[in-house]
Amino acid sequence: MAVYFDHNATTPLHEKVLEAMLPYMGSVCGNPSSLHRFGRLQRQAVEQAREQVAVLMGARTSQVIFTSGGTEANNLILKGLSTDPDVQRIAVSVIEHMSLLEPAAATTCDVDYIAVNEQGLVTPELLKQAIQKDTALVSVMAANNETGAIQDIEKLAETARETGAWFHSDASQIAGKQAFSFEQTGMHAMTLSSHKLYGPMGAGALIIDQQLPMHSLLQGGSQEKSLRAGTENVPAIVGFGMAAELAAQELVERVDHVSVLRDVLEKELMKFDVVKVFSQQVKRLPNTLQFGVQGFDGETLLMELDRRGFAVSSGSACTSGKTEPSHVLKAMAVPNELAVSAIRISLGRANTMAEVERFIEAMQQILGIKSSVVMQAASL
C-alpha cells in the first residue's frame, strides 16, 4: 500500500480502539433503550464513552450529545438552533468545512460570512466587522482541515460573547492533535468527529452548553436528551470514547512525533523555489502541511505522487473531485494558479522519517523533471 499522508481526511482505527469495539460487535448485544440486562450493559458503555469524550475536551458529560458524525453535529447546531425565534442571523467564517457552510445556507437565517486574513486567520477585528446587531450565532472552526491554521478561539469566543452571540466551533480537526478545552475557550458549542482521531467512522458529538435553546433534527425517540433520536451506534460510540481517552493519554507523544516529521518535510520542501507553504506565519496543526507548487497543476501532482506510492490530497476529501481551487485558499487571497497546485500532507502516528525522506525524493523527481523540461524549452 501507498504511504498514507491523508490523516485529515480520515485516520486508521487505533488498535486499542478496535479492541474496545470488538466485544460490542460480538457477544455483547442489545439496544441501550431496552430495560433488560443486555440493554443496560449497552447503556453503561455509552455513558462511559461520554465520560471519555468529555474528559478529552474539558467538558461535562451532560454536555456531550452523540451524533452520527461531524457533519450531523454541524447540522444539528445550525439548524437545531435556528428554529429558535430569536435566532435570525448567523455569522460563519468563509473557510469553514462544507458540512458547516451548506447547512448554514440551508437555514432560514440570514448568513454573514467572516473573512480571514492572508494567513487564514479570523482576527477579532474581522469577526467584529461581520457581527451585526442581531447576530445570534457565530461559528469559527478551531483548526482548518486544509491549511491546519489554528484560530485564537478563546479570543473569538470572547468577542462573540461580548456582542451577545452564541459561539460554536468545529473542533473536528484539532481534537486529539492539540490540547483544546471546551470550558476554557468559553464557547457554547463544539463539533467533534471520531474518525479524525483514530476512532471509527459513524460517530461524532456536539458538545453544548445546556442553556442553548436547541431543537432536535431527527424525530423519533428520546435518545441523547431528546436532541438526537435513533438507536445509539454503540460500537462506534465505544470506539470514539476509547479514541478520546487514547488521544488524551498520547497527546504529547503524538504532537512531538508528527511535528518533527512535518518540520523536516517543510524545511526540505522550502528548498524548492516553486514551493509556497500556506498559513506559514501562524500556528498550525502539528501534522498538517499544505503548499502550492508554482507552475504545476494539482491534479498532475496528485497523480505523480500516487504513482510513486503516496496518498495525499489537495484539500478536503469532501470536496475532492472538484477541480476548482479550494474556497479556503481563495478566501486567503492565494492566486488561482497557485491555489490549483495545492497539496495537503496530513501526517499520523504511524508515519516515519523514512517515509518523509522518500516523499522528498519523490518531490525532487517530480519537480526536477518538470524544471528541466521548462529549462530545455526555454533554451530552444
Partner: protein, 408 residues
C-alpha cells in the same frame, strides 16, 4: 448469543440483533491500522478508491435483497434518519402541492414524531386507526386521501405486533391518486420478501441492526422511475447524490451489505425455522387462561409473538422473567411506563395493553430456548396471578367491568 448459561435468553430481536459473525468478518477488513481504511470521498489515492468500491459493493447487496437499482439506495445513519428524511424531505419538497399526510397510529415513533414535527410546521396529518388485528383498512385509507395529500407513510411490518401490511394494495391506491408512498421496512427487510422492481412503493426505510448488521447504519430507497424528489435534511459535501451528506462509514456500510446478502440467501429457510419456534412458543402457552395474541396471527412476520396475559401487570411480569431478555413493546419507548400506544390503537383496553409481552425470535434462538421460556413464563404468570386480587375476583365470576372503583 445464548452460549453462556448465566446470561438471559435473548428474545428481543425486534429491538436489535447481534451482529452475525460473517458480517463482523467483513467489517474487520475495513477496521484497524492493518486494514483497508480510507475516506470513500477521497479521490486522489487508492485508500479512498478501495473504500468507495467497498461501499458500492455493499450498495449492490442491499439493492439485490429488495429488487432495487443501486442508484436508488441512499445510505443514512439508521432507519430513524431514513424515516425523517423520507417524510420531512417529501413534505418539504412538495409543500406547494399540498400539506396533508396520512399515516397510521401504530407506526414507529420515528414516523409519528416526524409527522408531529410537520404538524408544528403547519402541515395536517391524518393518523389512521388500524383494525383490531393491526392491519390498515384500505377503504378507510382511501377515504382519508385528499387532493392535497402528498404522502402516505405505512410501515411494512410492525415492530411490536409483527403484523404485515399489504403494501402492494396500499401502494396501488396511492398511485391512483398520485400520492407518494413511503414504507418503513426496518422490521421487514430480510424477513419478508420485497421486490421493489414491481411493488408500487416510492420510498422505503431500512435498518442494518435489525437484521444482524451494525448499529448506526441504515438506508433509504428512493425510486428513480418515476423519480421521487425530496429535500435533503443533512447538508454538507453533497454525498449520496446530494440527498445525505456526511462521510460514509465504510465498515458499517460493508456490514450492512453483508447482512443483506446473507439475509437474501437464508431468508426462506430461516423463516421456516422461526415459524416452527413461534408455533412451539404459542403451543406452549395457548392453553393458559386469559392469554391473547395481539395482532393478526396469519399476516405476521415469522419471529414475532406478542401476547397479553390478562390480570398480570406487564412490568411485574418483566421483572419476574429476569432470565429472559424480552420487552413489553418498542425499546425506543420502553423507558416510559405508559401502556403500548400500538396496542391501544388496536382497541385493547389499558389492562390488556399493560399486560403484553413481545417475544421476538431470531437467528440464534433455539428450540431449547423456547422450551425454557415457556416454563418460565407459565410459572411467573401463575405466581403473579396467585397474588392478584383481580384474578381471584375473575375466578369468582365477578364481572370486573361492572365494578365502580371508589376513589381514594
Amino acid at each position: 448469543m445464548n452460549d453462556k448459561t448465566d446470561r438471559p435468553i435473548y428474545l428481543d430481536y425486534s429491538a436489535t440483533t447481534p451482529i452475525d459473525k460473517r458480517v463482523v468478518a467483513e467489517m474487520l477488513k475495513y477496521m484497524g491500522p492493518e486494514s483497508t481504511f480510507g475516506n470513500p470521498a477521497s479521490r486522489s489515492h487508492s485508500y479512498g478508491w478501495t473504500a468507495e468500491a467497498a461501499t458500492e459493493q455493499a450498495r449492490q447487496h442491499i439493492a439485490d435483497l429488495v429488487g432495487a437499482d443501486t442508484r436508488e439506495i441512499i445510505f443514512t445513519s439508521g432507519a430513524t434518519e431514513s424515516d425523517n428524511l423520507a417524510i420531512k424531505g417529501v413534505a418539504h419538497f412538495n409543500k406547494k402541492r399540498g400539506q396533508h399526510i396520512i399515516t397510521c397510529k401504530t407506526e414507529h415513533k420515528a414516523v409519528l414524531d416526524s409527522c408531529r414535527q410537520l404538524e408544528r410546521e403547519g402541515y395536517e396529518v391524518t393518523y389512521l386507526d388500524p383494525e383490531t388485528n393491526g392491519l390498515v383498512d384500505l377503504d378507510k385509507l382511501k377515504a382519508a386521501m385528499r387532493d392535497d395529500t402528498t404522502l402516505v407513510s405505512i410501515m411494512h411490518v410492525n415492530n411490536e405486533i409483527g403484523v404485515i401490511q399489504d403494501i402492494e394494495a396500499i401502494g396501488n391506491a396511492c398511485r391512483e391518486r398520485k400520492i407518494i408512498f413511503h414504507v418503513d421496512a426496518a422490521q421487514s427487510a430480510g424477513k419478508v420478501p420485497i421486490d421493489l422492481s414491481v411493488l408500487p412503493v416510492d420510498l422505503m426505510s431500512f435498518s442494518a441492526h435489525k437484521i444482524y448488521g451494525p448499529k448506526g447504519m441504515g438506508a433509504l430507497y428512493v425510486q428513480r422511475k418515476p423519480r421521487v424528489r425530496l429535500e435533503a435534511q443533512m447538508h454538507g459535501g453533497g454525498h449520496e447524490r446530494g440527498m445525505r451528506s456526511g462521510t460514509l462509514a465504510t465498515h458499517q456500510i460493508v456490514g450492512m451489505g453483508e447482512a443483506f446478502r446473507i439475509a437474501k440467501e437464508e431468508m426462506a429457510t430461516e423463516n421456516e425455522r422461526l415459524i416452527t419456534l413461534r408455533n412451539q412458543l404459542w403451543d406452549g402457552l395457548k392453553d393458559m387462561e386469559e392469554v391473547y395474541i395481539n395482532g393478526d396471527f396469519e399476516q405476521r412476520v415469522a419471529g414475532n409473538l406478542n401476547i397479553s396475559f390478562n390480570f398480570v401487570e406487564g412490568e411485574s411480569l418483566l421483572m419476574a422473567l429476569k432470565d429472559l431478555a424480552i420487552s413489553s413493546g418498542s425499546a425506543c419507548t420502553s423507558a416510559s411506563l405508559e401502556p403500548s400506544y400500538v396496542l391501544r390503537a388496536l382497541g385493547r383496553n389499558d389492562e390488556l395493553a399493560h399486560s403484553s409481552i413481545r417475544f421476538s425470535m431470531g437467528r440464534y434462538t433455539t428450540s431449547k430456548d423456547i422450551e425454557i421460556t415457556i416454563k418460565h413464563v407459565r410459572s411467573a404468570v401463575e405466581k403473579l396471578r396467585d397474588l392478584s386480587p383481580l384474578w381471584d375476583m375473575f375466578k369468582d365470576g365477578i364481572d370486573l367491568e361492572s365494578i365502580e372503583w371508589a376513589a381514594h
